[in-house]
Symmetry: C2
Subunit: 301 residues, 2 copies
């Protein structure tokens, strides 16, 4: 099962982190940026950048999270770079999380699922356009917005991370509001995630149907960890957004329980004094090592 | 303002409906389907199909809603067909709603917004890859997931439809739950929509920041209509999903207040006995006329 593969990869690399490839042109070094005159060029340079990052981290980082928004803004050309990035990371043995936050109902949710998880039939052949291991989804529409994805996860050994408690400052505006039954919206969403994932639990006791739980909201993360014993967390918000290792440690039980994302902190490490003199790929590797140490020191305490 | 342009177009065509271009291969007639051997072929035939539909409805229907999931599943090639469809519909004077249900936070929401509303800068030139008039978005992440879009709407004369009460059977699972303050989740979301849209109100009293309100839930639609006097509705769920003209009439005040979507009912009309002998494009035109009459008979009562 994909959740077992993910946890095995985390154990093998001793690294509960995922590098977010939220690559926009601003992150590229000047010499690469200078080559960009069109959307095609942008897509080409972005993939080139990602490829170099992947080449320098694949042996020490278990997974990449590719944020599709950064590719979509460069048009269908950007979507080609997205696909190339997903394919390349998989070819190097990394687990790929497509951070797409898709959501829709019934057959339309099924289309998104086909795009990333299960494939469309074209002239008798099945093609999965952006073939990923995991995608992120938004559950505001309820069960019939999620179950088409869950079905495809079962049949194709894929996984989901469903938004429960997001890392942004105003996530509480709706997510922290209490219902009449005493539960907050994020708790209700979390309970649904536990239910939706109940048939996909692997050997470590975690399900392939996971949750997005921000590193920036320690109190809520602790509550969700207790309510959701089988839910594995994708944890954004570390670093640039202010989430600290000691806060997100509450997401882990005996060293397992989640995977922590860093995007800009890794991709733009070469712009920091600390990594002066390194090119972007070497700096990304060193920043990944530093992140691993920071996380493990808090999680394994 | 885009909301005024939309309402003017509805008045000019006397037609409060939008045709949903949720075009998948199954909808294509046999002779077109036979040409599809690859994702490139699929994308080409889908655009060809859409183009013929648009040519046959643009003078009697004010808008199209292009559901991106149906294009994404055909890969970046499908996304090219999506772009061609958006561009072609605009070239024929139609208002284009990109049904993308995107959602993310801060700068990532900003990337989605650049993709559809405001554009990226490439070599000193601004390019909006999928340049639409409206997009649909999901507000589960709260204000900092929505305000980047609202800002771009202000600056580029664009609009949003934010998911409030969706048309699917289980939409009530979360959306209808009552908070301690007595409001349901969909009411709270609706209140935020009214607030987010307060600075973009046009000459008819409606805002460019609208809401998605399903035709299948009459009771909730009536409540939202009362709470949200400035919110224009995008109304899915008519026809195939079971929503009836007399039910969704509660969304309208003096004949204005929303735009009703039909996708399969129009695109696949040629497969129905009622339109026998017509090709798909002619059948789509006749089905659009029939839908207009059905809607107006209920809305103008």
């Amino acid at each position: 099962m994909i959740i077992d593969k993910l946890i095995d990869a985390i154990k093998r690399t001793d690294n509960p982190s995922v590098v977010g490839l939220d690559t926009c042109l601003d992150y590229l070094p000047q010499d690469m940026l200078a080559k960009v005159k069109s959307l095609d060029d942008a897509a080409e340079q972005i993939f080139e950048f990602n490829k170099n990052i992947i080449d320098n981290i694949f042996d020490i980082v278990p997974a990449v999270k590719v944020q599709v928004a950064y590719y979509e803004m460069y048009g269908y050309q950007g979507m080609k770079a997205f696909k190339q990035t997903v394919d390349y990371a998989k070819s190097k043995g990394m687990i790929v999380i497509a951070d797409v936050k898709r959501n829709d109902i019934g057959s339309t949710a099924g289309c998104y699922s086909k795009a990333y998880l299960s494939g469309v039939e074209v002239a008798g052949k099945k093609i999965t356009a952006f073939d990923s291991d995991y995608i992120t989804v938004n559950g505001y529409l309820g069960s019939d917005g999620i179950l088409p994805f869950v079905k495809d996860c079962k049949e194709n050994d894929k996984g989901l991370f469903i938004l429960v408690k997001t890392s942004n400052p105003t996530s509480g505006e709706l997510q922290d509001k209490k219902f009449e039954n005493g539960n907050t919206l994020y708790e209700e969403m979390g309970d649904l995630v536990e239910k939706w994932g109940s048939e996909l639990i692997g050997k470590y006791g975690y399900s392939s149907i996971g949750a997005v739980v921000g590193a920036t909201h320690r109190e809520q993360a602790e509550i969700i960890r207790k309510r959701n014993p089988h839910t594995f967390f994708l944890i954004p918000g570390y670093g640039a957004q202010g989430g600290k290792a000691e806060d997100l440690a509450v997401c882990f039980v005996n060293g397992i329980g989640g995977i922590v994302n860093s995007s800009r902190g890794i991709l733009c490490a070469y712009k920091k004094d600390k990594y002066q003199g390194m090119d972007y790929a070497k700096a990304a590797r060193q920043a990944s090592i530093d992140m691993r140490e920071d996380l493990n020191s808090a999680i394994k305490k």
